[in-house]
């Protein structure tokens, strides 16, 4: 195998940095597609987990199919009617329950037994009179054996109303027994109690989903898993710099007529491209397969690009503290999991009370989830705040990473 050719090839010349970076990215992407690791972590695992979470939580989530309840109002008094008007109607209006009025307890019991409704709430005859007389408010719930979870929800609704009425009753009783109630006849006290009960909205029901701009469950888990695994997917580009160093190919790259910065840029482009590609596939996949609703495509693209940049910056920074690809992978996995949990990719941590609800925003994942929520509730312009926050993560961590990455680009 002897080459009889004069030394010095006329075509050879230095390669421009942008061209070299793109060539390196193209080569890395080709290798990643072939070893299927990016495909598994970037697409298959998040898609599978989103599907599983949807199966698990679909029955209890806020956007699941409305819970079917029966109601028997045998009491014709003010408080019996108020239960329907002030408690059940608002819940029905926001789609949490559907209500089917039944004429008798027997009819309601029959429907629950058949599973036609999940539970039947019975307001017994004489309910208003009993409460006005100072007795305890008591509602009956008939649960369907086939729907224990939704039966529990029906019981909570009934219990909430009864508790509210009981609080009113106790307040009136306290007034009557004290100096403020001196001189009031039993009839006057009964009328005060009735007015107090009627004036109270016994159960405060509001559209939590609309106020806090939370995603529906399908979209929440699709977005959560996508951004959670985004931080694993982008690892492949940055970590390959360490692999190239340990396997000797970095020395060959650096002996080529290209600048060191081109090698670093190539790795970052690879990470970014892998991240964006996996996210786009997941957006399309979860929309088609699960019916996830991501919102305005342009806004989603902005958020995906910003989230991918922040993921690249953070994972690159973590990699700079490692001495080997394996060490980097372990450290990156820990950071990705911690930030993912804190960022509310599995549970809506931003709804948590106290410091946790605020602490979540130190994770870029939280900004991505918030951005999608905002996008669902508002116009395209609302994504700029979360997008800028994500870019802030990218700029700060990316700048420090670039300074430190030069250390890795040495043989």
């Amino acid at each position: 195998m002897t080459e009889q050719q004069p030394a010095g090839r006329p075509g050879a010349r230095p390669s421009g940095s942008a061209r070299a970076a793109l060539l390196i990215a193209e080569k890395d992407l080709k290798a990643r597609v072939r070893d299927r690791s990016a495909l598994i972590f970037g697409i298959l695992v998040p898609l599978g987990l989103a599907f599983i979470f949807n199966l698990i939580f679909a029955g209890v989530s806020g956007n699941s199919k409305a819970i079917s309840l029966g109601v028997v109002v045998a009491d014709h008094g003010q408080m019996g009617q108020a239960f329907t008007a002030q408690v059940l109607d608002p819940l029905r209006h926001i789609g949490i329950i559907s209500v089917r009025a039944e004429p008798s307890v027997a009819a309601g019991r029959s429907l629950a037994a058949k599973g036609t409704v999940s539970a039947v709430i019975v307001v017994p005859a004489g309910f208003t009179a009993a409460v006005e007389a100072g007795g305890p408010a008591s509602l009956t719930v008939i649960e369907s054996a086939s729907a224990p979870v939704t039966g529990e929800i029906a019981r909570s609704i009934a219990q909430g109303y009864a508790d509210a009425l009981n609080r009113v009753r106790l307040s009136v009783a306290t007034v009557a027994s004290g100096s403020a109630g001196a001189g009031l006849s039993p009839g006057q006290l009964r009328r005060i109690g009735a007015r107090a009960a009627a004036a109270t909205v016994p159960v405060a029901v509001s559209d939590i989903s609309a106020k806090t701009k939370q995603l529906d469950s399908k979209s929440f888990f699709a977005a959560g898993m996508a951004v959670f695994f985004l931080f694993f997917t982008v690892q492949f580009g940055v970590t390959s710099l360490l692999e190239e160093r340990s396997e000797g190919t970095l020395a060959r790259l650096l002996a080529s007529p290209i600048r060191r910065g081109a090698v670093l840029a190539g790795k970052l482009i690879t990470s970014f491209a892998l991240g964006v590609f996996s996210m786009v596939v997941l957006v399309i996949g979860t929309s088609l397969l699960f019916g996830a609703s991501w919102g305005s495509p342009l806004g989603v693209v902005v958020l995906i690009a910003a989230a991918s940049l922040s993921a690249v910056g953070i994972m690159a920074l973590v990699a700079t503290f490692a001495k080997s690809a394996e060490q980097a992978g372990n450290a990156q996995a820990i950071v990705a999991v911690v930030l993912g949990l804190l960022g509310g990719t599995f549970f809506p941590v931003s709804l948590a009370p106290g410091i946790l609800g605020k602490l979540t925003f130190i994770a870029p994942q939280a900004w991505f989830m918030r951005g999608l929520g905002d996008l669902r509730a508002g116009s395209l312009s609302v994504v700029w705040t979360p997008a800028l926050a994500l870019l802030g993560f990218a700029v700060v961590t990316g700048a420090v990473a670039m300074l430190r990455l030069r250390r890795l680009a040495e043989v």
Binding site: T2, R9, A255, V411
Partner: protein, 314 residues
Amino acid sequence: MPDELVLECHDLRRRFGDLLAVDGVGFHIAHGETYGLLGPNGAGKTTTISMIAGLLERDSGEVTIAGQPMTTKTVQAKVALGYVPQDLAIYPDLSALENLVFFARLYGMSRMQARTRAREVLEVIGLTDRAGDQTKTYSGGMKRRLNVGLGLLNSPSLLILDEPTAGVDPQSRNAILENVAGLSKAGMAVLYTTHYMEEAERLCDRVGIIDHGNLIAEGTRRELVGMVGEADSVALAATGNVAAAAEALGTMDGVQKVSLNDHGLDLVVSDAREHLPALLAEAAARGAAIKSVEVTEPDLEAVFLHLTGRALRD
């Protein structure tokens, strides 16, 4: 002459913490010359060529390749450089063709130019039949050949090979050595590091012996051997009047010592190649019938031992 030099390096120094890995190394290589850097593991060979190839910052010294100054930041000098690292620096998930095309494109070639050049190199290294297979399916020898081939893509003026035959089977090793010899014959300057004395003797026009980061000797094989004053050993298996032959040979030019043994004579001769015809003629004239001749020349191993007091592979 200086204008024929492809590589010039002077006073290269590099320290890693307390360890002075390379201490003032300097040499030059001309067009068509193969220069061997011979030394045991850890002597400083790889550090030296890493500085020459612009991979490693140097603490001091100068490197010029094809008239262009080489540093870690310059790229022009690297156009004239082919580098074959000791590790198998190839991408396992890519085919040989894809590996070659990728690196060829880093040398500024268009996709079409790169494919054409890659096919030429595949022919040279004998991997055309397996060009499309992922290299992770290759044997160790095939990977080594590809590793060398990648260094040839730009038809460099200077080819640096860092122990290219480490862990290679004899057949592939021979193929690599033949290839390097052919490249040198075609005009390429070659810097070859090895700790195999036989490879240095077979390939290199000149050899630099490096130990503990210092270039302790340099020259052609004969110059190095002469430098340490080692002579050749000649064993003559003979019958007949061997004693008379021994007496006559002991007085001849170049003969330092003659001794009789059961099979004939043992001689110590300076430059046996030059004196052997006359020695054989004189022995025959004195009545000795020569059955066989065995000449043992001092090798670079002996030179290294003489210079350092240690064997090359210690």
